[in-house]
């Protein structure tokens, strides 16, 4: 009888210990390993980049996806500027998560290859609209006849 009680007690202690070990193993396994990186990136401004787009001459749309990434904490306004400085598109201020699947241009563009066309991203803080860092993404726009 005494022996049974001892065995039962040892097993009970083993169960409790296993539970505790399991708890700490489970907890330890998901502690973010890169919390510093997450903090750094929390304030970053993510901007999408392109290398080439094309459209048809006489039309005023480019079938391209332009968006403000959801994880951004700011507004983004994108403008497309031809190499001669002519602005042909302005998105308006996009909230995080906003996506445009077609870019409606303000004018038609003559046929040709426009190397070093710019997408200019202007970024603004949500709320006070404070100006943030900016970026120019250089790409090639081909306007097909």
């Amino acid at each position: 009888m005494k022996k049974r009680i001892i065995i039962a007690s040892v097993c009970a202690v083993a169960v409790i210990l296993s539970g505790l070990i399991g708890f700490y193993m489970g907890k330890g396994a998901v502690v973010p390993a890169s919390s510093v990186v997450e903090k750094t990136e929390a304030n970053s401004i993510f901007v999408p980049g392109y290398d080439y787009m094309s459209m048809k001459a006489g039309e005023k749309t480019i079938p391209a996806r332009l968006y403000n990434p959801e994880r951004n904490n700011c507004l983004i306004e994108a403008a497309i500027i031809l190499p001669d400085g002519t602005e042909i598109f302005r998105s308006g201020k996009l909230n995080p998560g906003d996506t445009l699947d077609t870019l409606n241009l303000s004018r038609t563009v003559p046929a040709g290859m426009y190397e070093r066309t710019i997408i200019r991203y202007s970024c603004y803080a949500i709320g006070d609209m404070r100006r943030l860092n900016e970026a120019d993404v250089i790409f090639t726009l081909e306007v097909k006849p």
Partner: protein
């Protein structure tokens, strides 16, 4: 025989408890409390745009510091570059004033001039930009990952801060990002 089967049952229970507790508590205390997921697949968009981004770059937030210098690191967040391509990030000349100098401004409107530098993995090896340098490369990426393969961190070093009124100064960077072919 009976004792042996009780013993085996208990051992099995110990192993089960250990595994179950690992699963049951496998979530941390950082706010991730969702334990059940329901995923509804979105219907395909009617018009699939022809041109999608090839990369995403994480621009740093505006540079603010109260000490002698501030560092900001550039990273990629999405990378679909080809093997022969590289992404070059430069400081756009519009980051400088009319004399070609980088500066920071306080809320009171006071100006603090600064020099822009760059480095890769070793913060001791900072290379400084010349005034108005239009081709000052601050990061180069290829298809190998999200971190720059050359440079990657921008250091902004304040000049004459002893003479500047106290306050928090902020500088804005305008960067140019270009996809090029590797040499």
């Amino acid at each position: 025989m009976k004792k042996r089967s009780i013993c085996l049952t208990l051992i099995a229970a110990v192993v089960m408890c250990s595994m179950l507790s690992t699963t049951a508590f496998a979530w941390d205390d950082t706010g991730m409390t969702a334990q059940f997921k329901y995923i509804k697949v979105a219907p395909a968009p009617e018009l699939d745009p022809s041109y999608k981004p090839k990369y995403e770059v994480a621009l740093p937030p505006p540079t603010s510091f109260s000490g002698g210098y501030g560092d900001v690191t550039l990273r990629m967040a999405y990378n679909a570059l080809e093997e022969n391509e590289q992404l070059v990030v430069k400081v756009n000349p519009s980051s400088y004033d009319e004399r070609g100098n980088f500066f920071l401004k306080s809320e009171e409107g006071n100006k603090l001039y600064a020099i822009i530098g760059r480095y890769g993995t070793d913060p001791e090896k900072v290379e400084m930009a010349n005034s108005g340098d239009e081709n000052f490369v601050v990061a180069v990426f290829d298809n190998s990952g999200m971190d720059a393969i050359r440079y990657g961190t921008i250091r902004v070093i304040a000049l004459g801060r002893d003479a500047a009124p106290p306050g928090e100064y902020t500088g804005y960077l305008h960067l140019t990002i270009e996809l090029t072919q590797k040499d």
